[in-house]
């Protein structure tokens, strides 16, 4: 059978697993509640008086994802190992990368679905004013890519351990680094420490999701930003495959 068929079968099973447990529903409800609360109450959507979602809505996404995406990704491999189904999966006639891709795609689609369900915000801002919907679209694309990068990091941490809790904590810490590396207060601090040395600060900042998400929020679909997120995903999934192989050879 084709690789595509295998990936589809795995992804279908994985998606099914999300929706047959409360995880999916709890996640979606919390994600939507947080979005609503932060956009309208904390983000000052009304006070701004501008027909835009940049500062009131997308601004919060890196922080929501920090906790929510590792919660989605933590079970991906940790649970397979704990229950023992990993042994079934990897003795089936499929390549390990197909299983990795299938599981990742399923979770990423699930995050995409949660993101799509925030559509009332878009309707609201369109009802109240005339926003640039191209900018909003770019924001959504960027947000989804960023969620994918976090998710891929969670894949690695999930493959490392049998315990979902350990996986969750490690991936939150790693994702926090990805945020803080580009967070203005942290960059200022680094600049003070580095004095006139600009390149180490830039290097660290270039690893940050915030730096790369910024463009999308402003409506700029820069290929470098897209490549950044895709390469984080690619690298993380490759690292996941190396970890899984290590478990099987030692």
């Amino acid at each position: 059978m084709s690789s595509l068929g295998n990936i589809k079968t795995i992804a279908k099973r994985e998606l099914h697993a999300y929706f047959s447990s409360p995880v999916a529903y709890v996640f979606i409800v919390i994600f939507l509640l947080l979005n609503g609360f932060f956009t309208f109450m904390v983000g000052g959507f009304w006070e701004r008086g501008e027909a835009s979602l940049t500062n009131s809505f997308f601004f919060w996404h890196p922080w929501f994802y920090l906790f929510l995406v590792p919660a989605v990704g933590m079970r991906l491999w940790a649970d397979e190992r704990r229950v023992g189904t990993l042994e079934l999966l990897l003795t089936m006639p499929i390549a390990p990368w197909e299983a990795i891709a299938g599981k990742f795609i399923a979770s990423w689609l699930f995050l995409g679905l949660a993101l799509c369900l925030t559509f009332p915000v878009v309707l609201t801002v369109n009802y109240l004013g005339s926003p640039d919907n191209g900018v909003i679209f770019a924001g959504y694309v960027g947000s989804w890519l960023m969620a994918g990068a976090y998710l891929a990091v969670s894949c690695i941490t999930s493959a490392i351990t049998r315990s979902q809790v350990v996986s969750f904590i490690i991936s939150v810490v790693v994702c926090l680094f990805l945020i803080l590396a580009g967070f203005p207060p942290v960059i200022n601090l680094l600049q003070n420490l580095a004095h006139n040395w600009q390149w180490p600060v830039n290097l660290i900042a270039s690893f940050s999701v915030i730096t790369h998400f910024d463009g999308f929020q402003k409506g700029v679909l820069d290929s470098r930003d897209v490549i950044f997120f895709l390469s984080v995903i690619g690298f993380s999934l490759f690292a996941t495959s190396v970890i899984l192989r290590t478990h099987r050879t030692t």
């Binding site: 279908k12 099914h16 697993a17 079934l88 089936m92 006639p93 499929i94 050879t249």
Partner: protein, 313 residues
Amino acid sequence: MIKVHDLTKHFGAKRAVDGISFAVERGEVLGFLGPNGAGKSTTMRMITGFIAPTSGSVTIGGFDMLENPIPAKKLVGYLPENAPAYTDMTVHGFLNFAAEIRGLRGDAKARAVHRAVEMCFLDSVLHQSVDTLSKGYRHRTCFAQSIIHDPDILVLDEPTDGLDPNQKHEVRQLIRKMGEKKAIIFSTHILEEVDAACSRAIIIDRGKIVANGTPSELRRKSEWAGAVTLRLNGVAPDTAREKLNRLRSTKKVTTESNGAHLIVTVFPRTAGDGDLTREVIAATNGWQIEELRTEDGRLDDVFRSITMPDTRN
């Protein structure tokens, strides 16, 4: 169909499997015996391609498991130890998934699922979630998964573990029946299963093969093989011992009083030629014999004497 050559697996400094070689052909059911921790599961995991060997090779239907894993894995059905299954799925959903990943679609998939459900008696729990199943049903669900694509080769790690006696019987019958057309390896530590289902058995201990043969060949290695047991009336233990010990083929004699009876067991020097039985019958002429029996040999005795040589009396 299955060729295992000089298979070795180290976990750190520990040699879990140490240079195992054997082959299984179509029509054979190979019983894999050994004490806990002997390396049975590790060997099976290498045969099915879940873990890679430190050295040695596994060839499945002509395909090397390391170099050509996908065509090799297509030929194999595998029931891992503890029968894992996706707990968040129904039995039907799980079997459909297994069929799909084996490349079955549409009608062929529906037929395969139906056949596996029938063979494993899963009808009554078909739409139940796996995590609500009893251990026996969960076990059979995973077993159904392993036969869903009607594979030429089956690798079953303790297929009767956790089943009740009726289910054990059913599974053994199933294995024996499927073994006529397939090559099957199954591991167990229940010795009666060897007689019930195997055409050949391998005993492994500390990662090495210590015995390999048909169940009756193995049984002949027991000191009980060819032993003669008598139940006597009105004979003193000393008299019996003295007389039977003098026979040419006797190795040793044990006696045990059981109420009015005396149970005497005469062990042979060499098993299986019937000399001892003839000599015992001749020597006991005139004694009041209630019962006389020639033993086949006991597998548990062989198993113990092979796998625990240090503690043998």
